[in-house]
Symmetry: C2
Subunit: 474 residues, 2 copies
Amino acid sequence: MHFTLDRLSAVSLVQQLTTQLQAWIEQQRLRPGARLPSIRALAKTHGVSAACVIEAYDRLVASGWLEARHGTGFFVAERKAGLPEQDAALWGETVDGKWRQFDEGQEALLKLGCGWLPSAWRAADELAQAIRQVSRGNPADLFDYAPPLGLASLREQLHKRLERLDIAAGAERIVTTHGASQALDLLVRALLRPGDTVLVENPGYYNLFNLLRTHQVNMLAVPRTVHGPDLDALQRLLVEHRPRCLFINSLYHNPTGTSLTPKVAYRLLELAREHDLRIIEDDIYADFQEGPATRLATLDSEQRVIYLASFSKTLSSSLRVGYVVADAALITRLAELKMVSGIGTSRFAEQVLAQMLANGSYRKSTQRLRVRLGQHRARLLAQLEGYGWQVFAEPNGGMFVWVRAPGHDFASLERLALAHSVLLTPGAAFDYQGHSSAWLRINVAYAQDVRAQGFLRAAGEAKGDLDHALGDIT
Amino acid sequence: MHFTLDRLSAVSLVQQLTTQLQAWIEQQRLRPGARLPSIRALAKTHGVSAACVIEAYDRLVASGWLEARHGTGFFVAERKAGLPEQDAALWGETVDGKWRQFDEGQEALLKLGCGWLPSAWRAADELAQAIRQVSRGNPADLFDYAPPLGLASLREQLHKRLERLDIAAGAERIVTTHGASQALDLLVRALLRPGDTVLVENPGYYNLFNLLRTHQVNMLAVPRTVHGPDLDALQRLLVEHRPRCLFINSLYHNPTGTSLTPKVAYRLLELAREHDLRIIEDDIYADFQEGPATRLATLDSEQRVIYLASFSKTLSSSLRVGYVVADAALITRLAELKMVSGIGTSRFAEQVLAQMLANGSYRKSTQRLRVRLGQHRARLLAQLEGYGWQVFAEPNGGMFVWVRAPGHDFASLERLALAHSVLLTPGAAFDYQGHSSAWLRINVAYAQDVRAQGFLRAAGEAKGDLDHALGDIT
């Protein structure tokens, strides 16, 4: 089995490999049920990276040409009836690495670095019940458009929630959005123009980087430390570049899991005042909060902080409900943009959320999640220490830990992970310039899976051997 | 009761009036239960338009300060408990005339020109049932993000639907969107830059005009005739301005209700080929189709036509499900933009739609709608003729008729409408430059309401008197 890959072609190696593998299957040179070469073997014989082969296999799994069987490898599938022949091309074309974790048909690999909780952890009964209630309730919720600022019943609940966080915001300062992602998109549309410069935390949220690039906004990186953004670096950038705003996760930062300390928060707001900087505080992990927490929107007294959050992480990514809190003039502009670009949010989804906030089932379900996350986080941190991994900082809440296995680069970790049927999210995805990194984001909720444990132990052992050779470096 | 209005202020007259009315209520100079002056009286004493007073009253109704009682006028409400005090300002600030029809709390006025069907006409049982089924089904549909192109089960159904319309499009050429509005927004983002020039039909869809203006795209207007766009005007504009694309409703055009004839469609595609014009065909009224119909996407053999549609008009505006059909490269770009700006569509909503398409309940419900719309349209057209209204063209399907009452301008029609508790959508809203117009869009589904009948008869009678004076001009 050999394919001719053209390294000078405009078509990516992944796509070339995908197309040729598919052709072999179509021509029945590979028959249904046949086993594909191992990732390592195919990568070696064709001089491509393992990631390239994985991507090609993934695309063919997603489009139904291949099946991944847990622990044993990839096999040619029986073509699914009813799926148009072109589907393979479709996935191949659309789904590049960035969106791989959003694909269907990846069940065979454990997504250890993904950005959401397992379905089994979620409030399935409570959500299904709220959905059924709304389906039997006011027909307007089934059929009608939502008003520009969002459904009044939801905004009232959000107002109460914000009061509990000591964020002073009347309902006139809240607009609902299609998840936090649309909130960010609307803010970029309203506040920035191509060529503007903004500050982002590095490492940080890869979809924010994609979004800013799409809008042709220049990014300057503020390193994220254990206590929040590096204030010296921040001050230098403020003086030199006068950026328009800063995007930040105060709590349980993605990907490092760190939270802002009060001292850093105060100083940050002082700097913002001195340099007339707007701050966009993305608080999507807010409801994972355990113990005291520092939020810029709580401390802010001059409406300098624009606050946004969503229910995608704690309840459902499927409903797509988020919101922004800002001064009334900006809220007006955001509502206008929201209507123009999509005639508002889903009234049905907003009523479901409003119901769960009003009847307390959302609060109860997040309590359960916090306890469970806390247990899994503590267990994982103990294991990582035992296995010899390095942890950036022990997070006090949220889903993520940011770790590395001394002695491994990403490529070697990825090989090891795949051998254990684990799909990693590369550290490079969280670098604003895509620079490679040996750091990994691990979602604690998946770490007790037998596949994850196998991988974590194996990577740690490698490091253990190294430590043994080098003496203890931790 | 007198207010001081500053005509030179940056604050609109509507907002000034709203604020001062609210202040009177807060200061209890107007007590709960008190009746407000009539729209006409307040407009007269303050030298403002009736529309201005209506808008101010509407905002105060929406924010709970006033109540509209059917047929008798506006009254000071008891303040709703739990509604933040600032809510009045909020509605006042956000909701300008354009979005008035999307507000809550407008039940007292019949929205005769609105763009959707009454809830009572919709497939409430079938939709609620599908929702409950999905809520009991695959937990992934409750919780997970949708893949970049949209849920495979929905795209498979869309593929079949397109086959029935003779639109050749494999599933790799379909991407789902948050309604047709997001489809348009993504297309503008992907295809156009600020300063680009495009063709729009005039009169046409006001939210498309808003969208293009927001993106700083220049519009050139092609007059819409009874048979489709005016081809002579189109040809001149193509030669002189080389626009990038044309936006068009082939079927049941909004607002005129007219449909493309085969002759116009063929010639239009010829012109598009000659001038390398892309066509964006917005087919959101597709499923109202009765009898044969001409679609550009069906005739197109060179992927020049980008097709989009949604389920907002026929099933639910609340679920926000639409889609685009285009060449694979553009679909890839749209999916990318969709992920970056909102991490995809609602998986839950797409599964509900997929279910109703698969089990036939969507098809049955649209059949019922077509019959009902047909009956209401026929009755209204007969009444309009009897009352002496002028009809732009008798539509052969869809929701809209485009009409005027000779002898009336919009202001006089609006006064008459309000006297009958009817809210009109001004013809100016459908003009790409907002020029005033005596034409009105009427939604046939609301025209048999007693309020509508009162208005239609009264406006027609005025014309009747005029005809009597002028002799028969029809």
